[in-house]
Amino acid sequence: MNPLDIHPPLVEQLLVQFLREELASAGFSRAVLGISGGVDSALVAALCARALGPENVLGVMMPYRTSNPDSEGHARLLASALGIATRKVEITGMADGYLAAHKVEDRMRRGNVMARCRMIVLYDLSVEWKGLVVGTSNKTEILLGYSTQWGDSASALNPIGDLYKHQIYQLSRHMGVPAPILDKAPSADLFEGQTDEGELGFSYADADRLLHHMVDLRMGEGELVAAGFSVDFVRRIAARIAATQFKRVMPLIAKLSQRTVNQDFRYLRDWGR
């Protein structure tokens, strides 16, 4: 047994309750999310459909002209299996309106622009759909900072942000996510042939195992090396976590007054629900 194994029916029950209660606290009962054809958004769509009823979930497909056509095919397969509403919004026009006009060639910049175009579409459709944007980032990528700030990381609430990639697959199998989505290599699909593991330079299985020991079990470098991790891998991941901390917090506010938002003005979002 993998020590990261969850009990899928329990986690399903918790996340369904989380979606219902936290949406209701904000005064909503509907959800909108981007469905990429990948496993993370497939799982979130399945959880939303279970929590809110498929008729209250809008899955949005947002291909760019270079996107792998399989991505849209898998997104449609998922949506029809779940019975959720779908919308297709091509982002080529809005992305190229900027990228071409300003001759942006850098791969990372182009990927970030696409991710932020998708965020704009989702937040706009959330008004029309009268639902909140539900996030699809998992714990592994949040800790690694493998996301675009204010792009794919933007959401009102995220049911899967405390689940490692291994746990995402476990819960997805339990929730009946279609096999072609479970079987393919994870990819952000921001350029042709991209895979997450190719770009990161290590496997999700290795990253999950190290992050679990480092973050959840609070092991230091010496203990991690004794547990069998290479010192290079440990240092590389530790540096990556620290370097991307800015993606996990709200913007810094210069404190000047007696009472400053998020410093000594502290309330939950569920304040006065």
Partner: protein, 284 residues
């Protein structure tokens, strides 16, 4: 003791005392109609838990009209209710009031405030400074609020004072879904702790934990009653609000204490001497 008791597993609205008070009234009425003589609500049941800057804004005096309204209902059924207490000297406590016969019979102020990991209680609250049992018309009770129960000295004081039942109230967040088992890590530790209390202190142990979500953190419920032999005799399943009705009898207390007379054989004098040496800085 021979009393019919209800554990109310509720989901308070954060900082909304008015709405929570109405829910308390409804729960008290339902328990009274079902024939219960005591009802136990979770920690901070009138306010919700992660209050942060709301803590001072929702604080109530023991003489507040909110507690007076519940006290009025306590002529028919005794009520243990969690609230943020503002004392006469302006300090703020995480308190439980035990209401009976139309008045406040006893107030316990949480002694062991949790301030680590996800908790920040010492920032919001002053700490209580005693554990005192009290005699209700339904028996002798000892109150413990959540982390109080994690210090065995708390339960031991109630044990020495002859408590018939420990009323343990909590807002315990659910944590630990790995390991492949259905039971949360947080529930596993509480189950062990509560059953050990029943076994070692030979009292009824009543555990009232809340449910619901506050900014992505859930409270796992699982309210239960442990008998004086350390065995679970009733439990609410799942993560939903509910009421648990049980009967606490002195027969069970008597049988447990005859079978294994732990209080008779306890040696608090040895403990007192050891504590004396320790507090003087000498190694016991």
């Amino acid at each position: 003791m021979d009393c019919r008791l209800t554990v109310a597993q509720t989901n308070p609205a954060l900082g909304n005392v008015g709405r929570n008070l109405e829910e308390h009234v409804a729960q008290v009425e339902a328990a009274r109609r079902a024939g219960s003589q005591v009802i136990v609500f979770p920690e901070l049941s009138l306010t919700g838990y992660f209050l942060k800057d709301q803590t001072a804004e929702v604080a109530l005096s023991v003489e507040s009209r909110e507690l007076a309204r519940l006290a009025e209902l306590s002529r028919d059924i005794s009520i243990a209710v969690g609230f943020v207490e503002r004392s006469d000297d302006g300090r703020i406590y995480n308190s439980v009031a035990f209401l009976e016969d139309g008045a406040v019979l006893h107030v316990h102020r949480k002694v062991h405030l949790v301030t680590y990991g996800m908790f920040d209680e010492m920032r919001e609250f002053a700490a209580g400074d005693s554990f005192a049992t009290f005699r209700s018309r339904h028996g002798r009770f000892g109150l413990l609020v959540c982390e109080d129960a994690w210090h065995v000295s708390s339960g031991y004081q109630h044990f020495l004072a002859g408590a018939d039942a420990l009323l343990v109230t909590s807002c315990s967040p659910g944590r630990g879904v790995d390991g492949g088992v259905r039971e949360l890590a947080s529930e596993r530790t509480w189950r062990t702790l509560l059953e050990a209390y029943g076994l070692l202190f030979q009292t009824w142990v009543v555990y009232s934990n809340r449910v619901g979500w506050e900014d992505g953190v859930f409270f796992w419920g699982g309210s239960r009653v442990i008998d004086p032999f350390g065995a679970e005799c009733a439990r609410l399943e799942g993560l939903e609000p509910g009421r648990l009705e049980v009967r606490l009898t002195s027969d069970a207390l008597r049988r447990a204490r005859v079978a294994t007379p732990l209080r008779r054989d306890s040696r608090p004098d040895l403990l007192a001497r050891a504590l004396g040496r320790l507090s003087e800085g000498r190694n016991a």
